[in-house]
């Protein structure tokens, strides 16, 4: 299993068995929080509790660049140490939620690329059907979605940017529906990572 690990707060942020997904998330988060993708072997860690786990020798990770790296041969041990202490919990909760949403969107996009490369139908129902129909080119969609993720500072802003991608300004895309559909899709896509919101 791989984890997105932040030296800044000394905790995992999300985990997945696909390092490519996590690395893409790390790149999109570069300007917000410095992360590396690390390999670990601790079965007790999942996406519900990973932000309470730390690496016990994190300085083995490179901190000499402002860019994320994938550390494939990392053989460190993990330790359950409880909630992070860097950021007040109410602020961190919002930031972590944003990070998780970025992760979900990235994972969804990559999942579509692999499983239905010709179309974003169905998977992106939760965003908007019109969006998918209008932007028939998946590469364009991917680029636009990644751009939205990269430039958004919080979930509200991310939601607004995705909404702007849609032709239907006034219908279909409600935030609650958006989140509900994200959750629904997450259940299908993220079973391998014990993910559920």
């Amino acid at each position: 299993m791989y984890g997105l690990y932040s030296n800044t707060i000394e905790r995992f942020l999300v985990i997945d068995d696909d390092k490519h997904v996590l690395y893409t998330v790390a790149i999109l988060l570069t300007s917000k929080i410095h992360c590396n993708v690390v390999k670990f072997d601790e079965s007790k860690i999942n996406n519900h509790n990973c932000s309470e786990w730390t690496l016990i020798n994190p300085t083995k990770l490179s901190q000499d660049l402002p860019y994320p790296r994938v550390i494939n041969n990392f053989q460190d041990s993990c330790k359950l140490v409880g909630a992070q202490t860097n950021t007040p919990s109410n602020i961190f909760t919002n930031h972590l939620m944003h990070i998780q949403f970025v992760y979900i969107i990235v994972k969804s996009i990559i999942w579509v690329e692999l499983s239905q490369p010709a179309s974003f139908d169905h998977t992106f129902d939760f965003i908007n059907d019109d969006l998918v129909k209008f932007h028939a080119d998946p590469d364009f969609m991917k680029k636009e979605l990644f751009k939205s993720v990269y430039e958004s500072s919080n979930i509200d802003e991310l939601y607004q940017k995705i909404k702007l991608l849609s032709l239907s300004w006034s219908e279909g895309l409600r935030k609650k529906q958006f989140i509900r559909n994200v959750n629904k899709n997450a259940e299908q896509i993220f079973t391998n990572t014990l993910y559920s919101l």
Partner: protein, 422 residues
């Protein structure tokens, strides 16, 4: 040898110095220790400003002007924000009186962002027309929010890959502003990279919690961490020893490097007149005292070319190098201004507060971590600079860059290192 030097030893060990050590095959402990210091801490800062600290060049080193350490004043009351604003207003005055043009080296890191934030806060739009930000793609990535909202389309920019102090100052007439000494004010990543290891070093949870919680507590003296510091200093050497060590295996002397270095630091602290209590104070003191001159001189040193650097240094402003900032740093240990917590996201907190007042970027405030970005940004494509640094020996008191290839230098180096003792 008549020369006095401001700094000796600019070059990385993998370059000329390693060749010199291999050529002369020094057998004295002083030479081995000196080499190991360079291995452990990269570009070597080895010019003490206070306290007892012997070097191979004792008596041949001098310190100029503002690079001298101020006398410790516990009653110094100016805030970090106040000094930042005052420093920016001095730039504004210089623009008003002489239409001086300034080029700010900007990496997107905390120190350079703090500098640009001060200029934005305190200069008028007209005065900002005399400011150019030298940055690269990396600078934008490191702090995209700041670039998008405060730099792009608002302040002139310059591609830092083209940066050369000599050309910028002498040919284009800019005064260069560098934020290189921010680390010296706040501490050093040498420390902040050690703090996460407390979890690893102290297996017992109660013990590790105690030591993590108290890294900047003045009532918990750094000597309580002595064994771990020595272990850590040895670790600092280990990585590079494998690659650049003079021998394939460590000698018994190499194995006690951490202890020797720690003992020397303790002696230096005890013979200085500034309180150094907590673990974070201990690491701060290394960069504020022993390594300070290196940070102060490297912009005109390793980031420039040519022999005569006098005009370059006369037009280079170390933003955090003025006496007020230094006095602030000495008077504000352990109060949360330098580090507020035990994680790397809580380091340089006074600078982050100052930036956040302007940009309200919570991500940057809570999670920006110190990374040594400047070297990447400025020097990445500068092969002509690398060629010159290959043989750099030191900067003499007249700001002339002296090279190993100059007459008498190799002999001087040999004699000094051979007779150095620890």
């Amino acid at each position: 040898m008549q020369n006095k030097y401001l700094q000796i030893h600019f070059t990385h060990f993998k370059q000329y110095h390693k060749k010199m050590f291999e050529r002369f095959n020094f057998t004295n402990d002083g030479a081995k220790f000196f080499y190991n210091v360079g291995l452990s801490f990269g570009f070597n800062g080895y010019v003490p400003r206070a306290g007892v600290w012997s070097t191979p060049w004792d008596g041949d080193l001098v310190i100029h002007g503002e690079n001298n350490m101020p006398v410790y004043d516990p009653n110094f009351t100016k805030s970090f924000s106040q000094i930042s604003d005052e420093t920016a207003k001095k730039i504004a005055d210089r623009i008003d009186t002489s239409d001086e043009k300034f080029l700010v080296l900007y990496s997107g890191g905390i120190d350079s962002t703090c500098t640009v934030a001060a200029l934005i806060k305190n200069l008028t739009q007209k005065q900002l027309e005399n400011i150019t930000i030298s940055l690269s793609f990396d600078s934008i990535v490191e702090n995209k929010y700041f670039y998008d909202n405060f730099i792009r389309g608002k302040i002139k920019i310059h591609d830092s890959h083209e940066f050369d102090m000599r050309k910028t100052v002498l040919e284009k007439g800019y005064t260069v502003i560098t934020a290189d000494q921010g680390d010296a004010l706040f501490g050093t990543e040498l420390g902040t990279k050690m703090y996460p290891l407390i979890e690893y070093y102290f297996i017992d949870k109660t013990e590790s919690n105690y030591y993590k919680k108290n890294i900047s507590n003045p009532d918990v003296h750094y000597s309580e961490y002595k064994d771990m510091i020595i272990w850590y200093l040895n670790n600092c050497m280990n990585g590079r020893f494998k690659k650049y060590g003079l021998t394939s295996e460590k000698t018994s002397f190499d194995l006690i490097f951490g202890k020797i270095y720690y003992d020397r630091l303790v002696k230096n602290i005890e013979t200085s007149n500034c309180p150094v209590n907590s673990l974070h104070d201990f690491f701060w003191w290394i960069i504020f005292n022993i390594k300070y001159i290196h940070c102060a001189l490297r912009a005109g040193g390793v980031q420039s070319t040519g022999r005569d650097r006098s005009k370059i240094f006369s037009k280079c402003i170390n933003w955090f190098g003025n006496q007020d900032f230094q006095s602030w740093s000495m008077a504000n240990n352990n109060n949360g201004q330098k580090i507020n917590g035990c994680t790397q996201g809580r380091y340089k907190i006074a600078a982050k507060d100052y930036i956040h007042e302007l940009d309200n970027n919570d991500w940057y405030y809570w999670y920006k971590m110190k990374v040594p970005s400047k070297q990447i940004i400025v020097n990445r494509y500068r092969e002509d600079i690398y060629e010159e640094t290959e043989t750099m020996f030191g900067l003499d008191e007249n700001y002339q860059m002296i090279h190993f290839t100059d007459p008498g230098i190799t002999e001087y180096f040999y004699e000094k290192i051979k007779s150095f003792d620890v």
